[in-house]
Symmetry: none
Subunit: 193 residues, 4 copies
DNA sequence: AATGAATGAGCCTTCATTCAT
DNA sequence: GATGAATGAAGGCTCATTCAT
């Protein structure tokens, strides 16, 4: 039974453990137990506990950011961009909930380091620019406070890590659609006429 | 729970320290330094570190819940109830950001104990019922998924603890208004007539 | 309701608490709770925790020693002196079990200080001398090892603090009689004639 | 319970330290110093301080109990059983004084847990049954109170931990013989003829 | 005499990290 | 790559003691 490097096992175990106990509350021994090795052995894979945190968190953070960057270069209407952002964000949560939970719980908005602060801010800015485009193109309400709209959308999406139960991509897409509807059209019934 | 001379100082210091370093990352020595006493002396006020966490968090959690309960008995229209919830929620964040941050970061949705799980769920339910009322009364879109609407509103509000800078009640009210507008009417420009 | 000094309450409470939890395992707060005051208040009565230990233990230790000294000056036969020693020792245990327990558990043979070592040794010596008298007068077996006899008698008596349930003086006297019988005549049945 | 390289050193050191300072009075740092490691390192061997106490104490407690059980199945005369019990008990004290001291000081008759209470009681009962056999077979005095006899014998033996200086097995055997003689024949000189 | 609060030292325990094997 | 052991630095908590009121 060939057993290649267990790097992925290690990171996945860390994601599960950190997401359940928190980064501070989890010990490397917890992680090692989850992989099935001793805590000392982890140091064949990492240089420090923080290393592991970043390894858990980086791929999805980068994927999300990349998607947002790509979307920006598109010439979809703003409303469609909102829908796309929600969709991608929700899908990543559905596929990688433990990893994303750790990011949101331990890194987002914590000012851990310049690098992460920058990523946070860039994503935030990209989303805000979508709303800005919508206002400037006249398709969004000119009274819209884009700063608040963007932060609220991201907040609503991130908060999903506290209640969403992953495993059903169709449901994930439905949630993304509903959330987009709310942010685009609101809860109020449209007066027909 | 004794309330001698410096009880409030102790809790306020704990709120600040926990909110900055996290409950797990903060040591009781940090808290004691912030109050200006030695860590051993804290035990004249508390029985354990967890005690302090709950003391930090309980008053505002209860206030918010009480407001939501009171609102329920009201016969305001659903849209107005949404506005009220957002307003109260934002105002508590504005007035007690460190306390609320700790609640959201350390307790909300963590299943710490039955008591807190119940509080969480009750608040959630109360908000969801507002949206349900709106749908049933015909003032909200019949296609609205109330479960997602409620969770998204709460998520957007709670996420404020990561970016809001407190101290300006007028701005707090403005944010509440904007957020309510988005959740009620959406970002899209209304086609007049 | 005139309430004189509560010195005796304090010492009695300490005896109970020390005897149950051990001197090291009991906190002054435990003692204070047992008396119904706060731990700080104890320092109106004592200068240190050790003070309290000695106060608990001294009166009975001195009484026992005095009785043994008095007995020595008597000209009772050795066998009667053995009976008397057992009787007094058992009676003190019956009347003051908690106090005596503390002495035996925390002080006897621990070399705490010269004073207590001396008391220990003197009592030991007095008992040994009784056996010596018996051997020299011919009434005790000349092969008797008085050192071992004395230590065993005292050991058997002191061990009572681990199993005796006080409150019945008659039973106490019966135990003393039985114990004396064993040490004087042994368990073996006497062949009559 | 792991038995790596220095497990025996750790337990032996703990026995020495606990026996000298008491379990409560000894710190794990004391134990660690005695082995030559840091207190934190002890936790590679134990899970708690209490673990260490039990590890110190269990082997000899079990050995003594096993001997008493084995003796019971024998068909030696009661008097010989008394001699055997005394012998084994004294020999264990001679060989493992620090370990046994800890047992007697910290566990015997303290009701620490059901397990230990049971061991205490079983040994007590086995000894009492020996005296009972003697009485029923007619070789012991029919007036003998077996309950008191057994408790006194055990008390006298256990008390040895307070005065015996180990290291001379021959002397240990002599003490056992003397003690047995006393409990069997008493101190009084036999009237010849 | 009693109280509430504070002190400071010490203790058990945890844990990230290192390292020889 | 893995392991068992050791390290050293905290951290939560206890407690004897002090002291102003």
């Amino acid at each position: 039974m060939p057993r290649p490097s267990r790097w992925d096992d290690v990171v996945a175990a860390a994601a599960r453990v950190f997401s359940e106990k928190g980064f501070g509350g989890a010990s490397l021994e917890d992680v090692a137990n989850e992989v099935g090795m001793l805590k000392g052995s982890l140091y064949n894979y990492i240089k420090s506990k923080e290393d592991l945190l970043f390894a858990v968190v980086r791929p999805d953070a980068e994927e999300l950011l990349t998607c947002a960057r790509d979307l920006k270069r598109t010439d979809l209407p703003a409303s469609e961009k909102v829908r796309q952002i929600a969709l991608v964000h929700v899908e990543i949560i559905d596929r990688h909930l433990p990893y994303v939970s750790v990011y949101i719980q331990e890194i987002a908005g914590k000012g851990i380091s310049q690098e992460w602060t920058d990523m946070d801010r860039e994503y935030m800015t990209l989303v805000e620019q979508v709303f800005l485009e919508g206002v400037e193109s006249g398709s969004f309400d000119p009274a819209l406070d884009t700063r608040i709209a963007a932060r609220s959308l991201i907040g609503a999406l991130n908060w999903m890590t506290r209640w969403y139960e992953p495993g059903d991509p169709a449901q994930a897409r439905a949630i993304a659609a509903q959330l987009s509807d709310i942010f685009l059209s609101g809860a109020l019934a449209r007066r027909r006429s």
